[in-house]
Amino acid sequence: MGNYKIDASNRILFSKDMKIVELLDVSCELLSVFLRLDMQLPFGDLSVEELCRRYSISSEMFLMLCRVYAGADMHPAVDNLQRDDLRHIVGYLRASHCYYAEQLLPSIEQGVERVLSMCEKRQSDIVRKFYDDYADEVHAHLQYEEQVIFPYVEQLLLGEKHTEGMAVKMSSHTDICDKVDDIKSIIIKYLPESCPTAERCGVLRDLAHLRDDLAKHTLIETAVLTPMVVALENQ
């Protein structure tokens, strides 16, 4: 495997000629991109360009998402993206929300519960409250985007004009990454010995995954969605 083009610093260049299998070979994190764009297996021997054409998605946007999710691009450019891509980006972000709310967070909650079941009630109450408060914050954050930001973008796409701009809406956008690190530190460093290591490791894996995914999700919101919407407002 691996007929990839490589750039000056030895990083693989994602291109539209690449086969989908080659792409997944680079990082299996990319599976979530397919899932969230609702692209169905099997992919056979399709290239990126062919698959994107099948789903009427621009390969520029698809490759941008892949670069971000493979950790290969921390400064995604929006120059090559079109107005029509916005609709897919919103769909993509919505699907990520579903994944957090319906799969990842419930899995973390169960894991935290298993870890805490082995320590004193006083200690488990303290940590459980912290986690519950955090989960509430995340749900409120996701809800704000679902109810305020995404509908706003969709209305703009339909040609409606609005007074309150995207910049104002994004200023109420809170950070939900820091506390994941706090929970991680508490589980690694400060829970008593009675909490089983295997259970702790399970939650820590989920938390690391949440942290990474949220960071990329936030990057797409701030570095792709926001500038594109602002450009649309100014048209």
């Binding site: 940590v127 408060d133 506390k179 706090d182 530190s185 400060y190």
Partner: protein, 196 residues
């Protein structure tokens, strides 16, 4: 010889006065106040330069956090006077223990040892923070702003911020809520002190 300024927190007046008399008769101790409860101590205490707090085990029966109650006294040595069975969690918060049946010499010896190693509490789980950082952490967890903490501890806002940076660096915890969890898990304060 230097005389340590000592406060006694003990609900039994017989025990408190007895201890006070023994301490005053030595050349090393100066008892500056006697209080029946931790709450009383927190509210009525006048002397700011207390170096040692001797707290009777009856005064912490309800599971109050000893460290939390004396958080505003930086570098204070906490010695437990064991008059009853003592909970292990209380032991973790103190720098030394004297027993009600100790004779005068043993009591003073233990007191001296506790003062000497006050910096490194053998029972403490939170020795990754310095004494001053712990003081700042407790006030942060109580919901105070940097300015209030600076006033309370008599240091500059800049110093408070630098302590906070170190606390976050050492613990790996950034949010106030997360730091509160840290303080509670390490018995630096108790649930009732937390503004939630």
């Amino acid at each position: 010889m230097r005389r340590y300024k000592i406060a006694i927190i003990e609900p039994s007046i017989i025990i408190a006065e007895g201890l006070c008399k023994i301490l005053q008769s030595s050349a090393e101790a100066d008892v500056v106040g006697i209080y029946p409860t931790l709450r009383d101590f927190a509210e009525r205490r006048v002397a700011r330069d207390i170096e040692v707090v001797i707290v009777g085990s009856q005064a912490v029966r309800g599971g109050e956090s000893v460290r939390g109650s004396v958080a505003e006294l930086s570098g204070v040595t906490i010695v437990l006077l064991a008059t009853t069975m003592v909970d292990e969690e209380v032991l973790r918060q103190v720098d030394g223990v004297i027993n009600i049946y100790d004779n005068e010499a043993a009591m003073l010896r233990k007191l001296r040892a506790a003062i000497e190693q006050g910096e490194t509490n053998p029972y403490s789980d939170s020795h990754d923070l310095s004494e001053r950082e712990r003081d700042v952490l407790i006030l942060v967890a109580k919901g105070m702003a940097n300015k209030e903490i600076a006033d309370r501890l008599n240091i500059s806002i800049h110093t408070v911020m630098s302590h906070r940076k170190n606390i976050t660096h050492k613990t790996g915890i950034k949010s106030v809520a997360g730091l509160t969890v840290y303080a509670l898990l390490n018995n630096l304060l108790d649930q009732n002190d937390v503004a939630l």
